[in-house]
């Protein structure tokens, strides 16, 4: 009898390690649950809830923007010279279709998968920042709704999903439509970055004892690489979008070639995000395939290390491909060569993954179930999409195929085959875990075949019609080009896809209520999530598992046995503490417990902060700029409320007693380790944004013969030197304050903080005053635009550091800090170090750049 004939069959290891007293399990479940009722749901932070919300909202946008738009567009294109929709509406449709699927569908779905799955997969109780997860969801939802509200104002964006300047600039796209695109999606991008930071720390620091990096499930590896890519790519896009909005709403000149700007700067900034974005979407899909395929083929993944290497390699290489979208703009031949080389090279790690999966299938004993079919469909379609990708990586071919339907066919093969099919495989594979019900196999197979046939019928002809010369983004075409038949076939394909999605929705609804019970481990899976009940308890794990293998459920007799001290630790943590949400941090390399800390509980503040965030963007949209101030105030209040220190749930003596018995420090008042990592990622975000501004500065410099332009004086050096000395002194005072509190000197800390505030504020005043007296505005030339914008970014970084120091002073005054509990002070000091670097490099660039270049 095969495993799959036995739904409900447990894995070979014993099911969830249990505590001796069932009431302890119930108590933990209650402790980790979100509160009931509408008010409770608004405050929900639990990873299951947030993950499911992201998934459902992503699917909702998929139906709205992915399906409805495409049906209308394909119906319009089914016949030549059709007048079903006008050219203007068609522009809106393809803009909306691309923007929604690229920004509002795939990423939230994968981040939802990650937030929902990772704590179970990794053997931990929660994600590190549940409130950040809730904030990420709300910003994504509000961003999506803000974007979609353009339809209510009949101001739908219409410049394509990459919104090239000058088409998207103030001259050619005046009015609201493009503002909705920039600002609505901007809010959603903030959410993507927030969730990315949460996922990185969750994977690196919150794993079961013994789960070393090389024992991590492949989905965790994929999400780790993906989340770092999100930090780099989305931050660059946010900077690009900011510059575009500054051109549109503040009369700046970044993309105005007549006044020193460059239209190509937008393309660079957009594609530094845009191409990695494709791999940001593909890597989680590869992670899902690498998880489900070995279980369904009943064979360990062939080449685990090779696939890990491929994920990392793709993560890096994907950032060296952006200009292959710009082969037709007139780049120097050498530059074309660099980008073509990198674009072709990425086929190497992608190919390694394909061979690993094919080898796993051929060495295994697969049974053809629905998720397995979706994986086969993925392999077939994605390989075709990958090969056409290598074709367009070659410059001469690209110049022929550029902006033709060949590219449309290619990208749909990659995104539907490489991303859509694995999403379906993942839903069929993990649905039983989160609902306790199996998805129906008969409907599942119908679902697969409709999608598989539909996708190939719809998109394969696009390659042919593209090579025959049909350009993309045309709302109709004349008869007699030889394109008619291929377009009709494509339209028929989409009509097959739509019922395929309908069957999927029917299957989900039917199975949710009337599906077969799944049991803990219906597929005979090897990873930890299959050890817990389906659906899992709110806290996931009563006793944390101890891991010795990459395949704990296949290789271990027990998940609760291991080194004596680890056994003692996980048992100890199972029954204690039962009045606060304790989670474990492990060392990154060897996964040994490093700290026990309190995870944030339900809170309304993430929602408040998200509302403030969306208010900032919406105020710009409706040109009510006072609203930005109100929004910023709401954000500040929200963040303060969110991080308002709670009374430590236990005394320092109790914490020390647990540490003495188990050898692992307890920080009920706030984790040192998580705070350090959180601050490190915040600094990474600032660093990437800063680099994007610098890139813009030097790109504009290269584009202008005179810098500054005639009529604008060379920048002065005296004031920046003075303000730099002040900032440096402020940072030193901050670090001195940290040293004083470590020595138990609360007064010394206060002196340090006050000194920091005075000197830092003085630096801002001195530098800000100079900025108002420069004698050139943001509007006369791109030089003025970048000078003032980069200068404002530097000042804003210091202002943020000052706000942090002010809050620390408030808490110092209330006597909150002790030599053991002063995590916010030490993280603030680290941020001041980064601030000094931004200040020195930023002002150095602005004031020395014209002299040195």
């Amino acid at each position: 009898m095969t495993v799959l004939d036995e739904p409900g069959r447990p894995g070979t290891a014993e099911p969830t390690p249990t505590v001796e007293q069932p009431e302890t399990h119930a108590e933990l479940d209650r402790l980790w649950a979100d509160p009931p009722g509408l008010w409770g749901r608004l405050r929900a932070v639990q990873n299951d809830a947030i993950g499911k919300r992201l998934l459902f909202t992503g699917f909702f946008f998929l139906i709205l923007g992915g399906s409805v738009d495409s049906v209308v567009m394909r119906t319009q294109l089914a016949r030549p010279e059709s007048d079903l929709v006008s050219a203007g509406l068609y522009n809106e449709l393809f803009t909306n279709h691309g923007s929604v699927t690229m920004f509002l569908v795939i990423l939230p779905i994968f981040e939802g998968f990650a937030i929902m799955l990772l704590p179970l997969l990794l053997g931990t109780r929660e994600m590190p920042f549940p409130r950040l997860g809730a904030f990420a969801y709300y910003t994504f939802l509000f961003g999506g709704l803000l974007y979609y509200s353009s339809t209510l104002f009949q101001a739908v964006p219409n410049a394509g999903w990459f919104a090239y300047t000058p088409l998207s600039g103030p001259d050619y796209s005046p009015g609201l439509p493009l503002d909705f695109w920039v600002l609505g999606l901007g809010v959603a991008e903030v959410g993507a970055i927030a969730a990315g930071a949460e996922i990185i720390i969750g994977i690196l620091k919150m794993r079961a004892p013994g789960m070393t990096l090389s024992r991590m499930p492949m989905f965790a590896w994929a999400m780790l690489v993906t989340s770092f890519m999100i930090m780099f790519a989305f931050t660059t896009l946010i900077v690009g979008s900011l510059l575009l909005e500054l051109d549109r709403g503040f009369d700046m000149r970044f993309f105005d070639p007549e006044l020193g700007g460059s239209t190509l700067l937008w393309q660079h900034l957009f594609w530094i995000f845009g191409h990695p974005e494709v791999y940001i979407q593909f890597l989680p899909a590869a992670g899902i395939v690498s998880m489900a395929l070995p279980v369904l083929a009943r064979r360990r993944l062939v080449g685990y290390t090779w696939v890990v290497g491929s994920l990392v390699a793709i993560g890096f290489l994907s950032f060296g491909l952006w200009a292959h979208h710009m082969f037709a703009v007139g780049l120097p031949p050498l530059v074309l060569g660099f980008f073509a080389a990198a674009s072709i090279l990425i086929a190497l790690p992608a190919g390694v993954q394909i061979f690993a999966w094919v080898a796993t299938i051929s060495a295994g004993r697969p049974k053809i179930t629905t998720p397995f079919l979706f994986i086969l469909g993925f392999l077939f379609i994605f390989v075709i999409g990958g090969i056409t990708g290598v074709m367009v990586a070659a410059v001469p071919f690209d110049l022929q195929a550029h902006d033709s339907y060949f590219v449309v066919g290619h990208l749909h093969y990659v995104l539907i085959g490489g991303v859509g099919f694995p999403i379906f495989a993942g839903v069929y594979y993990w649905f039983p875990k989160f609902t306790g019900k199996m998805l129906g196999e008969r409907l599942g197979k119908l679902n697969f075949w409709l999608l598989f046939i539909g996708v190939n019928v719809a998109f394969f002809p696009m390659h042919i019609v593209g090579l025959m010369g049909m350009p993309r983004r045309i709302y109709t075409y004349p008869k007699g080009q030889g394109w008619d038949l291929w377009n009709m076939i494509s339209t028929i394909g989409v009509y097959i896809i739509v019922p395929g999605i309908g069957v999927f929705m029917l299957n989900v609804l039917h199975s949710w209520f009337r599906g077969r019970p799944a049991g803990n481990n219906p597929w005979g899976g090897d990873t930890l999530e299959w050890a817990v009940p389906s659906p899992p308890a709110e806290h996931g794990w009563s006793v944390l598992p101890i891991v010795h293998s990459r395949h704990p459920l296949w290789d271990q007799d027990s998940l609760s046995q291991g080194e004596a001290r680890l056994e003692h630790f996980v048992r100890g943590l199972a029954g204690w503490p039962l009045r606060w949400r304790a989670a474990v941090i492990v060392r990154t390399g060897d996964a040994q417990p490093e700290e026990v800390f309190r995870v944030g509980g339900p809170s309304i503040w993430p929602l408040v902060t998200a509302i403030g965030m969306v208010a900032i963007f919406a105020s710009e949209l409706f040109h009510q700029r006072w609203g930005a101030g109100v929004g910023a105030l709401v954000v500040v209040i929200g963040v303060i409320g969110w991080n308002w220190p709670q009374d430590a749930p236990m005394t320092e003596e109790e914490e020390l007693a647990f540490e003495a018995e188990h050898g692992v420090p307890v920080h009920g008042g706030g984790s040192e380790v998580v705070a350090q990592w959180g601050m490190a990622l915040a600094m990474l975000f600032v660093g990437v944004a800063f680099s994007a501004f610098l890139l813009a500065y030097f790109y504009l410099r290269l584009d202008n013969d005179a810098w500054p332009p005639p009529g604008i004086p060379m920048p002065s050096l005296l004031v920046p030197v003075l303000s730099t000395v002040l900032v440096l002194a402020a940072a030193l005072a901050m670090h001195r304050g940290v040293r004083r509190i470590r020595a138990g000197d609360q007064g010394g800390l206060k002196v340090g903080l006050v000194t920091t505030l005075v000197l830092g504020a003085a630096a801002v005043v001195v530098q800000g005053r100079q900025a108002t007296r420069l004698g050139f505005s943001v509007s006369e030339h791109a030089y003025g635009s970048i000078f003032h914008t980069l200068g404002a970014f530097v000042l804003a970084t210091v202002v943020a550091a000052l706000v942090m120091a002010l809050l620390a002073l408030f808490w110092a005054w209330r006597g909150y800090y002790t030599p053991r509990r002063h995590v916010t002070v030490s993280t603030t000091a680290r941020f001041w170090t980064a601030t000094v670097a931004v200040w020195v490099v930023g002002l150095g660039t602005l004031h020395l750049g014209p002299y040195l270049t």
């Binding site: 495993v3 070979t12 013994g210 070393t212 990096l213 090389s214 279980v295 009943r298 064979r299 360990r300 062939v302 685990y304 290390t305 890990v308 290497g309 990392v312 390699a313 890096f316 290489l317 950032f319 060296g320 120097p332 031949p333 050498l334 530059v335 074309l336 060569g337 660099f338 980008f339 080389a341 990198a342 072709i344 090279l345 190497l348 790690p349 004993r365 005979g524 899976g525 090897d526 101890i546 010795h548 293998s549 395949h551 459920l553 296949w554 290789d555 271990q556 007799d557 027990s558 046995q561 291991g562 080194e563 060392r587 990154t588 390399g589 060897d590 996964a591 040994q592 290269l702 584009d703």
Partner: protein, 158 residues
Amino acid sequence: MSGPAVTGPGAPTVGRTGGDEPDASADPRSQRRFRTMAVLLLAGPVIWSTHFMVVYLQAEAVCDSRAADDEVLGVAVASAVTIVATVVALVASLAFTRGAWQRWRRGGGGWNEVPPARRTGPAAEPETPLALVGVMLGVVFSLAIAFTGLPAVVLTAC
């Protein structure tokens, strides 16, 4: 690929362990070893990224400047800088790859994690598989550096 035969959930398993293995990872030096490992793991990709940005930005800068048509030893400036940067990056990347190789060999040189049931003797350094990933990435990104620099030998610079 060498390595132990693998088992699925339905296959018989031999003497699976419950975790009484000696725990090499409890070694207090493991944090330091991990940091070295992380450097060896990411050195190749980081060197390639730096090399890529250097050669790209200098090509844009040189081709946009008055030096676009200048030559050094008969080679266009942008191409010459690319060739030098490529050689330097290649040497650095190969050196780190060698380091990862030595690390992997010291850790036992296995291709796969040995399942607990098949482990004999003390457990290997748990991060040895990462050293292998470091070797693979080192090789791929050394190739990537060479491949990225290649256009400087065959194409007109600007």
